[in-house]
């Protein structure tokens, strides 16, 4: 092995070391951010939505339909976040009706409102008439709307919940 080759090898080694350091640095820096985000929003289509609203044995599901542009939706969100803390056994699911292109806006907004500890989805299907009835025949399509699913059945609430109302409803449903 001549001097030139070994010099090359050393240079290569140093470069690999540098790259590893840079990669490690970014991995490290990225991590806290990744942890803080907890859940990322998932973009779904109708078949997945249908799965989400299926009843599951021994579980009460609260599925809220909302959008960043819907004022009454935003007003009621804190009650959902609060209820979620009080009822850890209830599954809370948030389905955004924002356009898919606004995903990052929805993500940022969810984080601000504390939804990011829940399951978050964005339904990417604008042919609303083809799927609103699949969620509930009782839903006109106006939001806010909330579907509560248990083995006893599905109930749709086309309304804005006010302080305490949602918790009372969950308590009632849990008793059944």
């Amino acid at each position: 092995m001549d001097g030139k080759t070994s010099e090359k090898n050393i240079r290569l080694l140093v470069m690999i070391k540098k790259i590893t350091l840079i990669v490690l640095f970014f991995a490290f820096v990225q991590q806290p951010d990744g942890l803080a985000q907890r859940n990322a929003i998932r973009i779904i289509e109708v078949p997945e939505l249908e799965e989400l609203i299926q009843a599951e044995q021994g579980k009460l599901k609260v599925i809220n339909f909302w959008a960043t542009w819907c004022k009454p939706c935003i007003k009621e969100l804190p009650y959902f976040v609060e209820a979620q803390k009080k009822f850890p056994d209830v599954e809370f699911i948030f389905v955004s009706l924002d356009f898919a292109e606004n995903e990052s806006k929805v993500q940022a907004f969810s984080k601000k409102k504390g939804l990011d500890k829940s399951k978050m989805y964005l339904i990417d299907d604008l042919d609303y008439n083809s799927w609103i009835d699949k969620v509930s025949p009782d839903w006109s399509g106006a939001i806010p709307g909330t579907l509560i699913v248990s083995m006893n059945g599905k109930d749709f609430y086309e309304k804005e919940f006010h302080s305490g109302e949602l918790e009372e409803l969950i308590r009632k449903k849990n008793k059944k």
């Binding site: 604008l126 042919d127 609303y128 008439n129 609103i132 399509g141 106006a142 086309e158």
Partner: protein, 198 residues
């Protein structure tokens, strides 16, 4: 006999109650109204003497889905008013609950967008309740006798008119103009809930 009378009364009440709760279904006769337009004049359906029908649209200033459809509502009026199907847009929202939907703000929006159709305010929300509108935009296509022929969305793509492959309102009006049955009589769409007075 007495039993039948009571039964009849109960039936009558239940029918009246459901009609009131749910608003109109296809086939019902819709009420006329007299509501104030942004130009200060009162607008009624009976003012349109030669109308073959009406495109009544509940919409507002503030709902992004209403805004997304403004140009399409203008286009409906351009296309169908002269064929005998004028557009009448009704803002159903309470202005205390939604201040940007006030009559003054309606005037501003109508001017900005150069609305070519009357944009009237249902201040008491009685017309909205009678029709049973739930969200904005929400369309009722009526024939000349004010029979409800179609209830629902304008088309099946809120984001982009070009991507909509089902134009429900146009299909309904075209069918009525041709003396045919309306192909799709009722649809649902995501929209903003109507802001009811407390």
């Amino acid at each position: 006999m007495k039993n039948y009378l009571i039964l009849g009364l109960v039936l009558l009440f239940s029918v009246a109650f459901t009609a009131n709760k749910n608003g109109y279904a296809v086939g019902d006769i819709a009420t006329d109204f007299s509501l104030k337009n942004v130009n200060g004049e009162m607008v009624s359906l009976k003012d349109y003497e030669d109308a073959k029908g009406y495109i009544v649209i509940f919409t507002c200033n503030t709902c992004p889905y209403s805004i997304a459809y403004e140009d399409r509502i203008i286009a409906l009026q351009s296309k169908y008013a002269e064929q005998g199907f004028p557009v009448i847009a009704i803002n159903p929202n309470d202005d205390k609950k939604s201040p940007k939907d006030s009559f003054e703000k309606m005037k501003v929006r109508a001017k900005e967008k150069m609305f070519n159709f009357p944009y009237v305010y249902d201040e008491t929300q009685e017309v909205t309740k009678a029709y049973g509108a739930t969200n904005t935009p929400h369309v009722y296509v009526l024939d000349a006798k004010r029979t409800v022929k179609y209830i629902g969305a304008i088309d099946n793509n809120t984001k982009s008119a070009a991507d909509a492959d089902k134009k429900y309102v146009e299909d309904a009006v075209n069918a009525l103009l041709a003396g045919k049955e309306v192909p799709v009589e009722k649809t649902k769409a995501i929209g903003c809930t109507i802001k009811w007075a407390l």
